[in-house]
Amino acid sequence: MQTGTDIDRVFAALADPTRRDIVRRSIAGQEGVAELADHYPMSFAAVQKHVAVLERAGLVTKQRIGRRKVVRTHADGLAAARRVLDHYEELWRGRIDRMADLITEDTEGTDKTRETQA
């Protein structure tokens, strides 16, 4: 379990659009800080700072590949899977509720679909 402070740190880290973009780009774990810096209109030092904030929040790690050091998004695979499944459950529950509403409309006689069925 994460403590309150850990979660605060994660949200603070993700509140910045550049840092969110770094998290997204680093899933593949191909780029070092210098390569990442090329994507943004800011200095290498500024990007390095963003990466440091993400590292402290546990969202990315630096990994050595040969002589290079790359930034990789650190995600607990299973936790990620749970979050995605939770999200898709919400998504489909919303869809199914709207489907049920459409079916209810049939019986209430306010169904506009008859026009489109012809």
Binding site: L14, H87, Y88, I96
Partner: protein
């Protein structure tokens, strides 16, 4: 309650929802087969969907976009895999680029819909979503962070509060 069961398997990367409707299988099938009806439930009220190409035949592609409150139009597509009206439908659901072409970099999910008459004028529909890999899950989470997916799991207050703090500093 319309939704009668939910099964989530993080190891198998599968989500299954089962729902029951007071309607015939044909009526439930129509929700998928008639694009004008599909548009009324596929997207949330804040992101209504418009289906610009819709032909439920194996091998065909369905194309749609959604329109957000800011006028943003995320695009998506289905590659239809199996169709057996009014009993089943399977399709690959993916994200599309601005020109409508499939975005191969983003993960696709496979959706399998089964519709069955359970008597008494009622129909059971189950939807199984299968995700390709754990890495795809991470990718969806990271994307969702950007698009406010976290809001859906009830963490919006924390994000907004932190956002305000960061902007002030």
């Amino acid at each position: 309650m319309t939704v009668t069961a939910v099964r989530k398997d993080p190891d198998a990367l599968t989500l299954t929802l089962t729902a029951e409707f007071d309607a015939s299988p044909e009526r439930v099938w129509q929700l998928w087969a008639d694009p004008r009806q599909l548009e009324r439930w596929w997207g949330p009220p804040t992101y209504p969907a418009t289906f610009t190409r819709h032909d439920l035949a194996p091998g065909s592609r369905v194309e749609y976009h959604m329109t957000g409150p800011e006028g943003d139009q995320p695009r998506g597509y289905w590659d239809v895999l199996e169709v057996d009206p009014p009993r089943s439908l399977a399709f690959r659901d993916g994200f599309a680029n601005e020109d409508g072409s499939p975005n191969e970099e983003l993960p696709q999910t496979i959706a399998r819909v089964t519709i069955a008459d359970i008597g008494g004028g009622r129909t059971r529909m189950s939807i199984e979503s299968v995700f390709p890999s754990a890495e795809a899950m991470e990718q969806i989470v990271a994307m969702g962070v950007e698009e406010g997916l976290t809001q859906a799991v009830g963490q919006i207050d924390a994000i907004l509060a932190e956002d305000a703090v960061v902007r002030r500093s």
